[in-house]
């Protein structure tokens, strides 16, 4: 069950929302979709779901186009949360579940499991408007996954949740992935993508600026982070050639270096200066990559 996007372009009049996007998302894989506001993430999701027609290119899933006959295999958590405020949780999910091809009985048993899992079984007969925003989000998440979709699109699934609930949802997402669901996942939170996705792409103004596996992206990025803590002033490190960024922190500094070889020059220059408490060479974070790639595109 591979989702394939081939040179997909979407134009709204003169405005290009998504430009020549190609992706391949295999079964049982979580794919991270990153991008600033207005980068074209939601438009891409809507094209995958068939809510918007694409201007050019092909989208196929398992070799077939996605249409409403397959909606029972697809789950969608839109960025803009939406449920019927006046309906009770159970009635709501029975309706949405039925639209995804479930029977009332199936919805009931699945719903109970999910509510137990999210530790909110008492909400079953509450109206959605009575729930807190975070709890509404749990219900919304349940509505996207209750029919055990094979393709799940999560647009900012963790926004507005406290850390405990984020963990709870993350676990659920991982479990779905391990059961064979392909998941497309968008977020502004780099650490979530870093933690969950093996593959990802970064969109900027409709253009794909980075794509590949997390490891490859980090490796090919080249730049590394170096953390130096010492009992003496480390200000002089910023003058070493190859140091791109210097950030002073309480016990020392954080450096961004052009290449890992630069770390050795830094290491040598520290000799005899005093007591070095920490010398740590790190992979760049996704955050650094995002800022660099998207920021560069801004300039």
């Amino acid at each position: 069950m591979t989702l394939l996007l081939n040179n997909v372009t979407k134009r709204f009049g003169e405005n290009i929302a998504v430009n020549n996007l190609s992706l391949e998302i295999p079964e049982s894989e979580m794919f991270g979709f990153l991008g600033g506001n207005g980068a074209g993430k939601t438009t891409t999701f809507r094209m995958i779901l068939g809510l918007l027609d694409r201007t050019n290119g092909d989208i196929s899933w398992n070799g077939e186009t996605i249409n409403y006959d397959k909606s029972h295999l697809i789950g969608y958590l839109p960025e803009e949360r939406g449920l019927y405020p006046k309906l009770k949780v159970r009635d709501q999910l029975i309706y949405l579940g039925k639209l995804r091809g479930m029977s009332k009985h199936e919805v009931d048993s699945e719903l109970n499991n999910w509510l137990e899992r999210f530790k909110v079984p008492e909400y079953i007969d509450k109206r959605v408007e009575e729930l807190s925003k975070g709890n509404q989000q749990k219900i919304q998440f349940i509505s996207a996954v209750i029919h055990k979709p094979k393709l799940l699109i999560l647009d900012e699934p963790f926004s507005g949740l406290d850390p405990i609930n984020v963990e709870m949802l993350k676990e659920a997402v991982l479990e779905l992935k391990n059961q064979g669901t392909s998941i497309v996942f968008s977020s502004h939170r780099m650490e979530h993508v870093e933690e969950l996705c093996e593959h990802l792409c970064i969109l900027h103004n409709g253009d794909q600026v980075v794509q590949g596996s997390l490891r490859d992206i980090k490796r090919s990025f080249g730049k590394k982070n170096l953390m130096v803590h010492g009992d003496f002033s480390v200000d002089f490190l910023q003058d070493i050639p190859g140091v791109l960024r210097y950030k002073k922190v309480a016990d020392g500094c954080e450096l961004q270096i052009e290449h890992e070889d630069v770390s050795q020059k830094v290491f040598a220059s520290l000799q005899g200066k005093g007591f070095v408490r920490k010398f740590d060479l790190e992979e760049p974070s996704l955050n650094d990559i995002f800022i660099e790639k998207v920021g560069a595109a801004y300039e």
Partner: protein, 416 residues
């Protein structure tokens, strides 16, 4: 179960369970029951006590005749002759012993004159009775003085015979026309109310789903076109439920009160014997009219982002319905006017005006067929445009809500 039926039954059931549905149904039922028992209610509130009016007759000849004619009239008024002075009686009126004081006299031409004293002069019924009776008294006195006998007077006031006969054999007789007017009137009213009420419900329902953002989930699981038509049908069934409830209650009440009501209002509305074709056309035009306006309402509802904006955007639709209704009201007395003939072919007016013509005139079948075809054609066209607007509109959120958004919504569904 097919998605169409899932959405339809959901729309129907959730609306059926709302408080507003119960309340509006209850209010209208109460109104129907009230109407059927109108006479009883009036009787309960009007006391049996007659209003007593004191009369000071300065002429000494008027009182007896006035008393006779007042007691012959059906009003709950009793007049008594009093001998005390005006001042004393006025005091009694103030205290509520008498309803009013009337001072009668004859002027120099021997014509009766009256002055009416009461605490307030807002209640005109009693005053009118007295005035009319005195007027007749004056006529009687004047004719008597002129030496004309009573029989001649009666003859003069006898209404003339005015018969209306249509030469065209197929034209409706006077009696048939009256009946047709009644049934056309009812149908116009029903359509008017149904379109306004259920059209608003549809538009509001769509706007609610949009504003609560549940719409994006809905259109990702069922096509917007299915969604739109399931919604329209669901609300139509809701309307049918409500209307049948009214009809059943109304019919039962009528049956139980048949003796009181036969003739009267029924004959006026022509329910007793109108040809079945009129009813069949009535149903056809009602359904088509509903469908036309409901599609329009759903399309308009899909354009707004907030429920508060619904009213504003469906105003043009409301105006169309009102215009059609007004033309039809005018057409009731002039069904053959060019305005009615022309508008009976314009789809937005046709449901009301073609039906009016069918009810009141002999319309050639081909004219009806053209009108219905135009209507169906427009519904299909509107459904096609509507479903595209709907498809784009439900994904479109913005502050502005105007008809300009329609273009934007259609553009959104285009490939580029």
């Amino acid at each position: 179960m097919n998605k169409f039926w899932i959405i339809l039954s959901h729309t129907y059931m959730t609306r059926l369970k709302t408080k507003s549905f119960y309340i509006s149904t209850a209010i209208i039922l109460l109104f129907i029951i009230g109407m059927a028992n109108f006479q009883t209610i009036v009787d309960i509130f009007s006391s049996d006590d007659k209003d007593t009016i004191a009369v000071i007759d300065k002429s000494d000849v008027l009182f007896d005749s006035l008393q006779e004619s007042v007691s012959n009239s059906n009003e709950d008024v009793e007049i008594v002759s009093v001998d005390e002075s005006e001042g004393v009686i006025k005091e009694s009126v103030r205290e509520g012993i008498y309803k009013a004081l009337v001072v009668l006299e004859l002027n120099e031409d021997q014509v009766p004159e009256a002055t009416y004293y009461s605490n307030t002069i807002t209640e005109t019924a009693v005053q009118m009775v007295l005035e009319q009776q005195l007027q007749q008294l004056k006529i009687a006195m004047a004719t008597q003085a002129a030496g004309i006998d009573q029989a001649t007077i009666t003859e003069i006031y006898e209404p003339i015979t005015f018969q209306r006969i249509a030469l065209n054999e197929s034209a409706k007789t006077d009696e048939e026309l009256n009946q047709a007017r009644g049934i056309v009137y009812i149908m116009l009213f029903l359509l008017y109310i149904a379109v306004l009420m259920y059209g608003t419900i549809i538009a509001t329902d769509v706007a609610t789903e949009k504003s609560s953002r549940v719409m994006e989930i809905l259109v990702s699981s069922a096509s917007p076109v299915t969604h739109m038509f399931a919604k329209i049908t669901g609300i139509a069934l809701l309307g049918l439920t409500q209307i049948s409830l009214f009809v059943i209650v109304g019919y039962t009440l009528i049956q139980s009160k048949q003796e009181e009501l036969t003739g009267g209002i029924f004959e006026y509305f022509g329910i007793q014997d109108t040809s079945p074709t009129v009813y069949i056309y009535g149903i056809i035009f009602f359904l088509l009219g509903y469908l036309l306006y409901a599609t329009l309402a759903a399309m308009l509802g899909s354009l707004v982002s907030r429920v508060e904006d619904v009213q504003q955007l469906i105003t043009p639709m409301t105006l169309l319905v009102v215009a059609a209704f007004l033309i039809a009201m005018f057409g009731l007395s002039m069904p053959e006017s060019t305005l009615v003939t022309v508008t009976s072919f314009i789809p937005f007016f046709a449901p009301m005006l073609m039906f009016l013509r069918i009810g009141m005139l002999e319309v050639p079948f081909w004219e009806v067929a053209i009108s219905i075809s135009l209507l169906i054609g427009t519904i299909i066209l509107l459904a096609l445009i509507g479903s595209r607007v709907y498809k784009g509109g439900v994904l479109m959120y913005g502050r502005s809500s105007s008809l300009k958004d329609m273009k934007k919504a259609i553009e959104l569904t285009k490939k580029e």
